[in-house]
C-alpha cells in the first residue's frame, strides 16, 4: 500500500472509521441487532460468554460474529501493513482483572463506550450520564498516568503467540455455524454446550455473514486509524490531541443522521432499548469502565484490534472481559431494563476501589524521571 494512503489514514483515519461505524451500526440494528446495539463490544462479549455457557441468562446468549470480524479485520490490516508484531509480558494478570471490572462497569450501564455513543446517536439521553461517567473515569486514570502509573513494558514474542486469539476467533465462528448440541439434561433433552437465546436481545441479530463482514471492515479500518473510544477523551485531555476525539464526534453525528434516515431515532429517557433510567448507576458504571479501560491503555474495541496485531496482553484483557461478563450475570451485577442488578452498585464501588489501588501501586516513576 502506498505511503500516500498511509498518510491519508494517519490524518483522516479516525474520522473515516467513526463515520463508517456511525452508519453501519444502525444498519445492523435495521438488519436485526437489538436497538442501539449495532456495535457494542462489551454486550457482544457478554452474549458470547452466554453462548459458551459462562452464564445462563437465557436472553443474552449468542456468539456475535461482529467481534470475530473485529479481530480478523485488524489481523488482515496488520499483516498487510507489516504491523503484526506479537508481544506480551506487561502485567497480564492485572490486565485480566481490569477486563473483569471493565465488563462489570459496562454491564451496569448496559453498554461500553461504543454503545454509549451509539445510544446517544439513537436518541437515548440516558447515555449522557454514561458518557459523563466515562469521562470522569478517564480523568481519574489520567491522574494515575501523570503520577507514574504503568503496567510495565511488553516484549516481542514468537509469531505463533500472536495467532492465538485470531485462531480462537475462527473457532468461535465455527461454533456459531455448527452450534453443537450434544449436552443432555436429566430428561435427555439437548442442552448446550453452545446456547443461543430464543427470545430477548440474544435472539436479535443481523444475518451472520453481513455482521461478520461489517466487523471485518471496522476491524480493518480501526487497526489502520488506531480508533479508540477511550483514547478520544484521554488524548484530548492529557495531550491536547483531538485526532481520536474527532472520530468519536463523527461517529455520533453519523449515527444520528443514519438513525433519522432509518426511522430509528427516538429522543428521550424512558423506554429506550436495552437501557435503564437510573442516572446515578449509568454514571457510576461508566466511571468504573472508563477507569479500567484507561489503566489498560484503551477501549474494549481497541483491545480487540490489538489482539489482531498479536498483542497477547490485550488478549488477556479480552479474556478478562469474557470472564467478567459471565460473572456479571451469575452474581446479579448486570443491569436490566428495570434498573441495576442487586449487586451492581456495590460491585461498581468495589471495582473503583480495586482500580484505584492498581493505579496507586503499579507505578514506575523512573519512567517520568527519564522524560
Amino acid at each position: 500500500m502506498s505511503s500516500s494512503v498511509k498518510g491519508f489514514m494517519i490524518r483522516w483515519g479516525a474520522i473515516i472509521t467513526g463515520i463508517v461505524v456511525g452508519i453501519l451500526a444502525p444498519v445492523l440494528v435495521k438488519l436485526g441487532n437489538p436497538g442501539n446495539m449495532g456495535m457494542c463490544v462489551v454486550c457482544f462479549t457478554r452474549d458470547t460468554a452466554g453462548a459458551l455457557g459462562l452464564h445462563r441468562a437465557a436472553v443474552v446468549q449468542y456468539i456475535r460474529p461482529e467481534i470475530v470480524g473485529l479481530v480478523l479485520g485488524a489481523l488482515i490490516a496488520a499483516l498487510a501493513f507489516r504491523e503484526f508484531k506479537p508481544r506480551t509480558g506487561s502485567s497480564p494478570f492485572v490486565r485480566f482483572i481490569l477486563g473483569v471490572f471493565a465488563s462489570f462497569g459496562g454491564l451496569v450501564f448496559l453498554g461500553c463506550p461504543w454503545r454509549a455513543y451509539l445510544r446517544l446517536g439513537g436518541g437515548d439521553l440516558n447515555a449522557i450520564f454514561g458518557i459523563l461517567g466515562l469521562v470522569v473515569g478517564i480523568v481519574i486514570g489520567i491522574a494515575f498516568l501523570r503520577s507514574g502509573f504503568s503496567l510495565g513494558r511488553n516484549w516481542p514474542a514468537p509469531k505463533a503467540m500472536g495467532w492465538v486469539m485470531p485462531v480462537v476467533m475462527i473457532a468461535m465462528l465455527v461454533l456459531l455455524l455448527a452450534a453443537p448440541q450434544f449436552g443432555r439434561d436429566a430428561d435427555g433433552n439437548a442442552i448446550g454446550p453452545i446456547f443461543f437465546s430464543t427470545s430477548g436481545p440474544g435472539s436479535q441479530h443481523a444475518p451472520i455473514f453481513i455482521a461478520l463482514g461489517i466487523g471485518l471492515l471496522i476491524g480493518f479500518l480501526a487497526q489502520r486509524s488506531r480508533f479508540c473510544t477511550v483514547g478520544a477523551f484521554r488524548d484530548a485531555i492529557l495531550m491536547r490531541d483531538n485526532y481520536l476525539l474527532k472520530g468519536v464526534i463523527a461517529l455520533i453525528v453519523a449515527a444520528v443522521i443514519t438513525n433519522l434516515a432509518l426511522g430509528q431515532f427516538s429522543p428521550g429517557f424512558a423506554d429506550q432499548p436495552i437501557a435503564h433510567t437510573n442516572s446515578l448507576w449509568n454514571f457510576g458504571g461508566m466511571v468504573l469502565a472508563g477507569l479500567a479501560f484507561t489503566l489498560a491503555g484503551g477501549c474494549p474495541g481497541r483491545q480487540f484490534f490489538l489482539t489482531g496485531e498479536g498483542d497477547g496482553d490485550a488478549a488477556v484483557f479480552v479474556t478478562g472481559m469474557l470472564a467478567g461478563a459471565g460473572f456479571a450475570h451469575n452474581f446479579g451485577i448486570a443491569s436490566s431494563a428495570s434498573g441495576p442488578g442487586l449487586y451492581g452498585p456495590a460491585i461498581v464501588i468495589i471495582g473503583i476501589v480495586v482500580c484505584v489501588i492498581i493505579g496507586l501501586t503499579m507505578r514506575d516513576t523512573k519512567l517520568l524521571g527519564g522524560a
Binding site: K85, S150, G152, W155, R226, C228, L238, D241, A371
Partner: protein, 73 residues
C-alpha cells in the same frame, strides 16, 4: 546541537510513549529529544505530538523493526 534527552518508550502502552515525550519537550523547551518506540501507533502518536508542538521530526526504522524518532527545535 547537543542531545539533551533520550527516552526509551519501547513496549509501553498508550498513552505513555507520547505522554513521556510531551513531558520531555515541555521540560527541554528546545534542543534534541530522541525516542525509541516499537509500535507503529506510538511512532504516529509521538510524531504527531512533535509536529503539533512545532518540533522537527525524523523517523528512522531500525533492523529490529523498532523506530528511533528524533525531535529537534
Amino acid at each position: 546541537m547537543s542531545e539533551l534527552r533520550s527516552i526509551d518508550a519501547r513496549g509501553l502502552s498508550c498513552p505513555q510513549p507520547a505522554m513521556l515525550v510531551r513531558l520531555a519537550i515541555q521540560k527541554t523547551g528546545k534542543g534534541t529529544v530522541t525516542v525509541l518506540v516499537d509500535s507503529d501507533t506510538a511512532r504516529e502518536n509521538v510524531s504527531r505530538l512533535g509536529k503539533n508542538s512545532g518540533w522537527a521530526v525524523t523517523v528512522q526504522e531500525k533492523p529490529d523493526s523498532s523506530y528511533r524518532i528524533v525531535l529537534t527545535k
